[in-house]
């Protein structure tokens, strides 16, 4: 009697080691938290340097993006992210890495159809659905604002 797809699915589940979830969550929390704390420290630093509130709001993410781009470029970011998971993906660092990594990867196909076309392969869906969500959210606020 040969194994059915359903039976094999069960066998595969048993044979496949699960991700170490507790450790993954802990590392994501610690490294993600560190990045956010670092962002907060930058915020304080820029405020102390007498930047206006609007300028601080721009300067902090820009700093994080530049640092991520550098770390991605020198091949360090993915080694941190391997441990951090969501801890590096969720903050703006994840967004920066998702743009810089394809930009580097697809240089071989040229500046336009390589780097240019592939720049947003990972971040593209985030931008598209992020903007769509913003529209829906804006509409809800607008409708509630009518009454």
């Amino acid at each position: 009697m040969s194994t059915t797809g359903k039976e094999y699915n069960e066998m595969t589940k048993k044979a496949s080691p699960p991700s170490p979830k507790v450790m993954d969550i802990l590392k994501a929390f610690l490294i993600g938290g560190l990045i956010c704390a670092f962002g907060q420290a930058l915020n304080a630093l820029y405020t102390m340097a007498h930047l206006s509130e609007t300028e601080v709001k721009a300067a902090v993410p820009v700093t994080l993006i530049v640092l991520t781009a550098i770390l991605t470029g020198i091949g360090v970011f993915d080694k941190i992210a391997k441990h951090a998971g969501a801890g590096t993906i969720v903050p703006i660092t994840g967004f920066a890495n998702s743009i810089v990594s394809p930009a580097m990867e697809f240089q071989a196909e040229g500046r336009i159809l390589g780097t240019g076309a592939k720049l947003f392969t990972i971040a593209g869906p985030v931008i598209a659905y992020g903007c769509s969500a913003a529209v829906v959210y804006g509409l809800i606020i607008y409708i509630f604002g009518l009454y």
Binding site: M1, G5, N9, S19
Partner: protein
């Protein structure tokens, strides 16, 4: 001349020999446990080329040239080259061998390509359709990542069932029977099997049913059992796939291979130390392990006969995105020690 034995197996009566073989690998593979076995280890995974695809082509060409050299042959002596790789339209192979001037039979068997090419090359030589034929294959970690997964520097996590595509190439030169060289006795080409696994990060599980089917067919056709072989060597099932293969063979066919089975994906890396999750994969995994460590042991008579069962997952990034399951195939080649070696 090949005689069909049972339903699926070809008995190669003239016993074609593997006259020369070579394996070249990248840095990570060169740092693994088989480091001393390879013909050459590249410390730079670009191999000095401007793209990883070109690097893979160079890798495969280098394996072929070295295998030819060890067999004492030149490209002009070779009647056919049977080869393939993982890249779209098999460009790793075709760009790598375009300067060699050998009639080319391009093969796509994903990671089963080493057994597929070696099996077909042996059948051609056995049928006297070729005096000499080359079987080769390659894979490259970086070219496979960019085609099948994410950019190299993307900061993602991989599950424990994922395998690492080996940066490696292997080549064999097959010719008429030579008593001082290992010979190919039989070949079983496999059917496509699909038990519905959809997870492209668990290819060992997707491929195990194909390996189980081909191995069971081989034993039925030849009326032999695992005890008749020194080693049953699967291609790249890794930890998860190897476990599932043993379970499937036991459950469906009452065949126990636990005593003499190993997997190229388990041999090529130090699984824990090199952080490769479930092991190695890629055409070059079976290609390089078989054409170095395994053939050396066969030549020395340390292994008297080895059933190489290379396995291939036949999905593409498109089929995965469309939610399809992963069809797989496995081909078996029985290789025996040289007649003059006791």
């Amino acid at each position: 001349m090949a005689i069909r034995q049972g339903r699926y197996t070809l008995n190669l009566t003239t016993r074609p020999s593997i006259l020369g073989n070579a394996a070249v690998v990248g840095k990570t593979e060169g740092e693994g446990p088989l480091s001393a076995e390879f013909d050459h280890i590249y410390t730079d995974d670009t191999l000095g080329e401007i793209s990883f695809e070109k690097a893979e082509s160079t890798l495969q060409r280098e394996a072929i040239i070295r295998a030819l050299d060890k067999a004492g042959k030149t490209p002009a002596d070779i009647d056919y080259i049977l080869a393939g790789d993982l890249l779209n339209q098999c460009i790793g192979t075709s760009f790598g061998i375009r300067e060699l001037g050998i009639p080319f039979l391009g093969l796509y068997g994903a990671c089963s390509t080493m057994a597929l090419s070696l099996g077909l090359a042996s059948v051609l030589v056995d049928a006297k359709a070729a005096n000499f034929a080359v079987a080769s294959t390659s894979s490259h970690f970086a070219s496979a990542e960019r085609q099948f997964r994410q950019p190299l520097e993307y900061g993602g996590q991989r599950p424990p069932t994922a395998q690492r595509t080996a940066t490696a190439a292997g080549a064999s030169v097959v010719g008429c029977s030579d008593p001082n060289k290992p010979c190919v006795e039989a070949v079983t080409f496999g059917k496509i099997m699909d038990l519905g696994i959809k997870d492209a990060n668990n290819m060992g599980a997707a491929m195990a049913p194909a390996a189980a089917d081909t191995i069971a067919n081989f034993f039925t056709d030849t009326a032999t059992s695992p005890a008749d072989y020194d080693l049953i060597l699967t291609g790249d099932l890794g930890i998860v796939g190897s476990q599932l293969l043993k379970e499937l063979l036991q459950k469906d066919h009452n065949i126990d291979i636990s005593r003499n089975h190993t997997d190229c994906g388990l041999l090529i890396y130090d699984i824990e130390g090199q952080d490769v999750h479930a092991g190695g994969s890629g055409c070059g995994c079976a290609g390089s392990v078989f054409n170095s460590y395994i053939l050396r042991r066969i030549c020395e008579g340390d292994l008297k006969n080895v059933l190489l069962v290379a396995t291939g997952a036949l999905m593409s990034p498109t089929s995965t995105l469309q939610g399809e399951s992963i069809p797989s195939v496995a081909h078996a080649v029985l290789v025996s020690k040289p007649q003059n070696v006791s």
